[in-house]
């Protein structure tokens, strides 16, 4: 009888200790949540409440976190569109101003009769070229802005990457031959299904090939498609002058130009657009280059299942 009582007493004490411990734990949790909420209220939406798998407060905390995550992403989205707008403004002010100022210079010279005859014709010709360049630039700029702000709509469907690439290359072969480029195209016979928007993909390949023709200064283009475990790789390489290693990481940045040439050649948007397009496919684009030996662009897409 006595031992029974003793055991009961011990059990009761244990139970009380357990409950006190539990209570303390919950109190701690609540004071922690209070702290985090105060921090969030002060504007720190990155703060999270961490909970254990079996905590009573789990669902509450997850919900609070979700609210914070949602409002944070909204806030950031807003900020981003603001920044995109700002970037657009700076682009307009810098990169439109340059050709525009020069265009005005030529036209003013013609207008004020500073030049005559053949020279005048040449001035008008140059002015026309500049106007054309400006037109292209503005077109590209809007395309990029559309991509950057996520307004571009893609129509993704699973199709055979090899087939589409073959079709694109068929159009390019004539162009390459006309501009005396050697080419080496290696597209496997089997089907590589990839989820993609064929128009966007065509733009990607066109942009890269265009880029090689205009900027590489080489005489040969290699296009190769290879399969890895989960991904398909498209490699476009040339034997041109290459890109210096300090410039390499920047080439996909908007308006970055290796040679700063704001003349008729490029506008610094091609590769930026290309990268945005590849990203939209959940792909990656990387570049390897060695000076005087050539450049290699590698696009990699996840394989469709």
């Amino acid at each position: 009888m006595n031992t029974c009582l003793l055991i009961l007493l011990v059990l009761a004490l244990l139970l009380i200790f357990c409950l006190i411990y539990k209570l303390k734990h919950i109190n701690e949790q609540i004071s922690f949540i209070k702290d985090v909420l105060a921090d969030m209220k002060a504007g720190n939406l990155n703060r999270r409440i961490l909970v254990q798998e079996n905590d009573r407060t789990k669902q509450i905390c997850y919900d609070i976190n979700q609210i914070a995550i949602n409002s944070q992403s909204q806030l950031i989205h807003q900020k981003q569109s603001e920044q995109a707008y700002k970037r657009l403004m700076t682009s307009l002010s810098h990169d439109v101003k340059t050709p525009l100022a020069s265009l005005v210079g030529y036209l003013e010279a013609v207008e004020s009769q500073l030049v005559t005859g053949k020279e005048k014709d040449e001035y008008i010709h140059v002015a026309h070229e500049k106007a054309q360049y400006l037109k292209h630039f503005v077109e590209h700029l809007f395309e990029w802005v559309k991509l950057d702000s996520g307004e571009q709509v893609f129509h993704f469907e699973v199709s055979d990457l090899n087939e589409i690439t073959r079709n694109i290359m068929a159009d390019w072969i004539l162009v390459l031959e006309n501009s005396h480029f050697e080419y080496e195209i290696d597209i496997p016979e089997e089907e590589y299904p990839v989820r993609m928007d064929s128009n966007a993909y065509t733009r990607v390949i066109n942009n890269l090939l265009q880029n090689v023709m205009v900027h590489s200064g080489g005489s040969k283009i290699i296009l190769r498609i290879a399969k890895e475990q989960q991904r398909v790789k498209v490699i476009i390489a040339d034997n041109g002058k290459g890109i210096a290693s300090d410039k390499l990481p920047h080439i996909f940045e908007r308006l970055y130009q290796c040679d700063h040439s704001r003349s008729a050649k490029g506008n610094g948007l091609g590769l930026a657009i290309t990268r945005e397009l590849v990203n939209a496919h959940k792909g990656t684009i990387t570049v390897n280059s060695a000076l005087d030996r050539g450049t290699e662009f590698v696009i990699s897409f996840p394989k469709a299942l």
């Binding site: 340059t98 005005v104 290693s245």
Partner: protein, 307 residues
């Protein structure tokens, strides 16, 4: 609200008589990527370890979220994700199991945190492969997944692209950038590769032999970067016409109503000025800027360069 997330004051670490970190004062701002650039052995890892309280500080102080790590460790650590050196995991467990252990230790911020983190770094969820069979790149990715598992505000990443292949490096960089831009995280990243820091960081600190040589924002540095001639004139279109026709300058850009940058620094400015004056254009200012980031780093580190 205090916007400096990490602040160190005269942070010093000595091993015996050797001073590894010498009076470093870092300031990592909220929502920005701070790149710590320095050669291997410059003291980057030691600084990060001291900030995290993983190694005793010889003198000075390191504050994270306005508090020193120590007393209130639990609450501060839960707001930080970190990889220091090459991260280790249990070799007999799969990546998912490893992360589940850390998720249970720390607690999670939302359901399916492990799956989510693995997806972000591009590793398969519930894979059968144990950590012992992981490649270096996969290990590094798992380390990053562990660092972001609890959705922390501050990430401290020590050479996160170490051991990755070029595609992996590009992916990780992209995703670090996205963490900062799209999620507003504060990131302290160290690297010995100049291009990596210059492509990622908003702010930069240059460490050489334990001394913080320079701390400034990338934008500030970029202003000093570049080889060009700055020309401030009264009439831009006319100036450009002269530059194009008489001097065959093709490489230039118009900055504002009065300023033009010429990227061909071999141009004879005396001749240009003369020609401009002849056409009754007032030259307000003309100057040459002759510096690249790399030159700049060479100058700072005493001629040896970093990249």
């Amino acid at each position: 609200m205090n916007d400096t997330v990490i602040k160190t004051k005269r942070l010093t670490k000595k091993y015996g008589t050797q001073t590894v970190v010498n009076k470093v004062g870092l300031h990592v701002q909220k929502g920005r990527i701070y790149g710590l650039l320095g050669r291997n052995g410059a003291g980057k890892t030691t600084i990060m370890k001291m900030i995290l309280g993983l190694t005793p500080i010889t003198s000075g102080s390191a504050e994270v979220f306005g508090r020193e790590i120590g007393g209130n460790a639990k609450r501060i650590y839960s707001r930080i994700g970190a990889i220091i050196e090459t991260p280790g995991f249990y070799p007999n467990l799969t990546g998912t199991e490893n992360l589940e252990i850390f998720a249970r230790l720390r607690g999670t911020a939302f359901p399916n945190a492990v799956k989510n983190a693995l997806e972000v770094v591009g590793l398969p969820y519930k894979d059968k492969k144990t950590f012992a069979h992981y490649s270096l790149g996969m290990k590094q990715r798992l380390g990053i997944a562990n660092a972001i598992l609890h959705d922390p505000e501050l990430l401290i990443l020590d050479e996160p692209t170490n051991g990755l292949d070029p595609i992996g490096i590009a992916e990780v960089r992209e995703f670090i950038k996205a963490l900062s831009v799209e999620h507003g995280k504060t990131i302290l990243i160290s690297s010995h590769i100049l291009s990596e820091i210059s492509v990622l960081a908003d702010d930069i600190g240059i460490i050489d032999q334990g001394v913080l040589l320079e701390e400034s924002s990338m934008r500030e540095l970029e202003k000093r970067n570049g080889k060009y001639i700055l020309l401030q004139v009264s009439d831009i279109p006319k100036t450009i016409l002269i530059l194009e026709r008489s001097f065959h300058v093709k490489d230039y850009s118009v900055q504002d109503e009065q300023t033009v940058r010429i990227y061909d620094t071999t141009l004879n400015m005396g001749e240009v000025n003369k020609a401009l004056v002849m056409e009754e254009i007032t030259v307000i200012r003309s100057g040459i800027c002759n510096d690249t980031l790399e030159d700049y780093f060479k100058k700072i580190t005493g001629g040896e360069g970093i990249a």
